[in-house]
Symmetry: C2
């Protein structure tokens, strides 16, 4: 290739690889063809096809959570972005680093308003922290490098780079160097002093953990501080990635139901925020508060999500003299799987007993899984990934990204039948890439959470027409058939004995599989 002219697309792919971005989740179209063909000329970029853009963006989210670095995406104009937007929303709320590349019409072609023309920038801004449209082929490499740096800006961001087609096919520049990356910021001394004062006060205090405070090292520091001062540790309702199970410090999460959350915090006088925010209700409900803290409770910011959380906790531990404390590490508790009827409780028990060492759990089990965290508290060590943006249809794509990031770990995908239908195309990518994922579909034949929410919002006299909008039976979905249609072997289980056998089998066998768990 010596002396060959490098087009904009190739300069971008080379810049991505040089900048450490070596996985691209992709659903390309005409305007991205030069990027695609550059893949064959550039060593070191793994490109993974999704048959729907929600798979692509959710996978990039999962990859970022497990590697703390970005994958690239490759999406086709405004509609490609639109199809990927719900999971970009989730990634944005999770502070996941993504270099989100969206092709557009050639710059000179936009004025003709061809069918696929739309306002990509405005749409992208709703789910990105950084958006740039490359003006010409010579700028693409530098814009790509800037996108990598933006994505890595602490704690991680969705950076959208819009790539008009002619910037891909015209002559590009060389590889652009990575600009300086904005690292996590050290916290101010005042914040440490204030938190220490509160902790010494003896008043009921909760250390509310979010973001990277749920990684093992930070958790141990928080555990020591709690042990020394008597403060309680609680995690935000959703956390992008929690290192948990045996050998880690266990933390309860703030529950989703407003009344339970209020109850958990009812006597608290001080909240120390560590990578977290003062907790708010997921939804508003008539006659319930938006803020989940009692009136007398004061919030004290120790560290934002974008701050250097581990450093702040070290400093605070020193300040309160907790460095020598013993963190409350959970020992492994050997348990036995449940037998008999399938219920949320028996499922939790079996998961707790059977979860393999070092598993990655992607969790969108919503109502069925409410008790799973407690049931796996002392299981073999594992990572737990939650939906941070509330847009369902994340779990199966997220599992794709986690499995690509960590090929030597088993991914356990906890999915519900309602949520799973949004992005079921992820199963095909799991099959093509032979990813080591077992998907559990909790088939309760309804959007169960909405049946609870009917009560929560005060809706009364619910009749057949309303229930038809919540129940997803008639016809029942056959997940085993759908999975087989996409190349993933599946089984259906209706007893815990069958579940235990199928799950153990899936754990022991490398590659994708699916278990439809009939509730």
């Amino acid at each position: 290739m010596a002396g060959a002219i490098v087009n904009g697309a190739e300069s971008l792919v080379r810049t991505l690889v040089a900048g450490g971005v070596d996985v691209c989740f992709s659903n390309p179209g005409t305007s991205e063809m030069h990027f695609v063909t550059a893949l064959d000329r550039v060593e070191g970029m793994r490109c993974i096809l999704g048959l729907f853009e929600g798979v692509v963006t959710g996978a990039a989210d999962g990859y970022a959570r497990m590697t703390d670095k970005p994958a690239a995406t490759l999406l086709h104009l405004g509609p490609g972005l639109a199809n990927g937007m719900a999971n970009l929303h989730n990634a944005h709320k999770a502070s996941s680093a993504i270099v989100n590349i969206v092709g557009d019409h050639a710059v000179y072609h936009r004025r003709y308003d061809a069918p696929l023309t739309s306002d990509i920038e405005s749409a992208a801004k709703t789910v990105s922290s950084w958006v740039r449209t490359s003006p010409d082929a010579k700028s693409v490499a530098a814009d790509g490098a800037a996108a990598i740096a933006a994505s890595l800006t602490a704690p991680g961001q969705v950076a959208t780079l819009i790539l008009p087609a002619d910037t891909a096919w015209n002559e590009g520049a060389g590889v652009a160097p990575l600009p300086p990356v904005e690292k996590p910021k050290p916290v101010a001394k005042e914040a440490i002093v204030e938190a220490a004062r509160v902790l010494r006060s003896g008043e009921p205090t909760v250390i509310l953990l979010g973001g990277r405070a749920l990684r093992q090292g930070a958790l141990e520091l928080a555990g020591k501080i709690a042990a020394k001062t008597g403060a309680r540790l609680i995690a935000e309702g959703s956390v992008a990635r929690t290192e948990r199970g045996a050998g880690r410090v266990a933390v309860s999460r703030l529950p989703y139901p407003v009344d339970q959350a209020l109850d958990m915090l009812k006597d608290v006088r001080h909240l120390i925020l560590v990578g977290s925010r003062t907790p708010v209700a997921f939804f508003a409900y008539p006659n319930k508060p938006s803020l989940l803290v009692p009136k007398q409770c004061e919030s004290h910011l120790l560290a934002r999500r974008s701050d250097d959380i581990a450093h702040a906790l070290e400093w605070l531990a020193d300040e309160v003299g907790a460095r020598g404390e013993k963190a409350p590490i959970v020992p492994y508790a050997k348990t036995t799987p449940a037998t008999g009827a399938i219920t949320p409780e028996t499922l939790g028990q079996s998961l707790g007993a059977l979860l393999p060492e070092n598993a990655i759990v992607a969790d969108e089990s919503i109502t069925t899984g409410r008790g799973f965290a407690k049931a796996t508290r002392a299981s073999r060590p594992h990572d737990w990934l939650q939906n941070m943006g509330g847009s369902i249809g994340l779990c199966m794509p997220l599992s794709v990204g986690a499995a690509v990031a960590c090929p030597d770990r088993k991914v356990v995908s906890l999915e519900s039948d309602g949520s799973g239908m949004y992005t079921l195309q992820a199963l095909w990518t799991q099959a093509r890439e032979k990813l080591d994922i077992v998907t559990l579909i909790f088939a309760n034949r309804t959007y169960a959470i909405l049946r609870h929410e009917l009560t929560n919002v005060g809706a009364q006299n619910v009749g057949r027409k309303a229930l038809d909008m919540l129940d997803i039976d008639r016809p029942d979905l056959d997940w085993v058939a759908m999975a087989r249609g996409m190349g993933v072997p599946g089984t259906r289980v209706e007893t815990m004995e069958a579940f235990n056998a199928s799950f153990a089998d899936a754990v022991a066998t490398r590659g994708p599989s699916l278990i439809e768990v009939v509730l």
Copy 2:
């Protein structure tokens, strides 16, 4: 219910029904629960569940095309809108009337930036002609009526109404009356005179038809004008709804490939635009023009899509003395189905022979179907619906809407395996609602169009990594299994004899079915 307090949601549902909007395609969440429960208290609204929002919005598009009036949608916050956006983009480009209702957080809850919070208005504006957020429950009914009127504004629009949850549960007003609707505008006399002058000039002239110029009445007028003046009739490359087949005036469409389109128009001196625009290439390509008309060609606007096209054509017919002409109506041509190997040509031949009377054809067959229009030119009369926005994944949802709109007509859904995967969830809605749709999946195991586009954009030296992004084999999709998983019976055919038998069977049997056509 006398004297009962009506909440905002119920006032909206009552206003919709009173305004003629009696179908709602829906994928609701917590913030839409009051709307859902109001369905049981209000007579006359049919609510249809989709398991993914792209099904909901594409169905509303199909419904609008077949009824010329809006359905409502019901989507859940920003991510619900995002999932429906690609097909809203298509509907927007098709000028389809849709009352697009998006729930949001309660007004007072937005400031807390809960997980599902996003900038819904900015996203909605990229695919809507009208966007309004209802400020309070008393305004919801009037805002709903305004949305109906906006959606009906000629030629039809996507009108997005954002509904904060508290505007649904607080006390509403009564039913709001429908404001005046902006009807199609009569064209100016100058446009008629100018078009007539061009038509009399004897210079090579094309009457380029778009929008409602492709409905039977307008087509006959255009046919008379062409017969009288020697002008050629050509349709835009994509048309939302064409009434065609035996008994109608046949019009060739401008082809998708740029070189073929340029060739079709190469000698043209004048274009008379009737519900159409000067044609542009779908994509830009290196060294090819964006505009598809030759340099010497002049465009003359007779009628915009939003103008009264039928009236303009009547007037022009009078002006050129064509009212007494005989329109070139296509007689029915009885043909025989093809036998032997399955190819795009043999499929076209069989479709032409077997298409049932009054069928609605939803067409996203892309490469496989390029010759289908010609092959069905003199088939039994039917309507043909095309993708107007270029965002694939429209066809199966569009079929849902068309079938709901026209329960006494067979819908023939021409889908490709690549495009079909974007919104395959539509099959479940077809099963639940027992819609009379036969879906043909043309399974060529590739994004075939992208293989053409590689050449068009000048990409060279295509290798395995690039082809992996275009081919959707490994594993092959099993559409029969996936359809069965959603309750739709299917068969796979590998010869034309088998295709003919399966298709005839599907036409004769009421309800949904799927045929995987292996190419």
